[in-house]
Subunit: 199 residues, 2 copies
């Protein structure tokens, strides 16, 4: 009978190689051959798992979304409400090489989504999901008296998501350890308390 391989596992390995290529050399450097080389297999093997380059890119795109969700599941959920929220937000920032690499990929894919309608739809779905869960989270904070109630939770969720996008974009181009980097982290705390704390 045939040689047995874990097909899903293999697809993930190849997609992760693709993400490494983007993180190292940009999305322009992505080709079937470059990804195969990064994965340590032949270009022909890649074709066995992804019929087209577009399939491969799409699969990797959804993969990045799952990564962030997985990290969020591991975040410590106890302690003061705003601290918990802050920890979730920090998970989305490029504070180490791993997250920096992921963010480069997300940026490349976001730019791609700006001109490809089906990619845009997928990105919109991700935003909607983030909006729903963030709103629910903030409503809980309102109920427990940790979050201001003079503004609807969905507006506050907008703010949190915007802050995440804005700070990650800015910090992606600010060397970690630099004064500007530290200042931005401080500023994030300032924004969170000023915008969300009861007044």
């Amino acid at each position: 009978m045939p040689k047995i391989v874990n097909r899903d596992e293999r697809r993930r390995e190849i997609a992760e190689a693709l993400l490494r290529v983007i993180a190292n050399a940009g999305i322009e450097a992505v080709s079937v051959r470059s990804v195969a080389a990064e994965a340590g297999i032949s270009a022909g093997a890649v074709q066995k798992y992804f019929a087209t380059k577009e399939d491969l890119l799409r699969f990797a795109f959804t993969l990045t979304g799952e990564y962030l969700l997985q990290r969020w599941e591991r975040v410590e959920g106890s302690g003061p409400f705003l601290d918990v929220l802050r920890r979730h937000l920090l998970e989305a920032l490029p504070l180490d090489e791993q997250r920096r690499a992921e963010l480069i990929v997300v940026f490349a894919f976001t730019a791609r989504a700006a001109t490809l309608p089906d990619w845009a739809a997928q990105l919109r779905d991700s935003y909607d999901a983030a909006q729903v869960t963030t709103t629910a989270f903030l409503e809980a904070g309102q109920d427990s008296g940790d979050v201001r109630t003079d503004v609807p939770a969905d507006r506050l969720a907008d703010l949190v998501i915007v802050l995440a996008d804005g700070f990650s974009a800015r910090m992606l181009h600010t060397p970690p350890g630099s004064p500007a980097h530290e200042r931005l982290l401080d500023t994030l705390d300032l924004a969170l308390t000023d915008l969300l704390a009861p007044r």
Copy 2:
């Protein structure tokens, strides 16, 4: 003697064609030939003005920065302080097709800067310039009593820039005229007053 042509003007025309290609079909669709077709000239002519594709991309990159500065110069500078600031911020958002196209380009270039060191340096310079002018502007607001003084102006400038990046990213993927779009504009006002107004 030779045929006379405005060389700088011609270079700008070609670069603008490049920007249109990106806005319509993404940076992956950029090739010497596609840009030449968009500009209505031959590929050979493009080579006369830009020795390499990289030169062309670089020139267009700096061009986008200048566009935003030019729009800012035309912003009405009278009226309440926060309104003036708000008008400047709105200029960076994708509120019409023109600005939406520019933002797609900026996103593509930002992603590119994540892996090309010299592009990153140029982008950092732009951020630094924005930081300096925004800080000066906010300091003036502090002096006139229109901006809170319990936080240094440079922190507030961080916030304004982060909000600009965050909202533009989010609105790029939110159809204009949709409820979410309107809500985001409202939320921006909320953030500006809550973060900047004297308390």
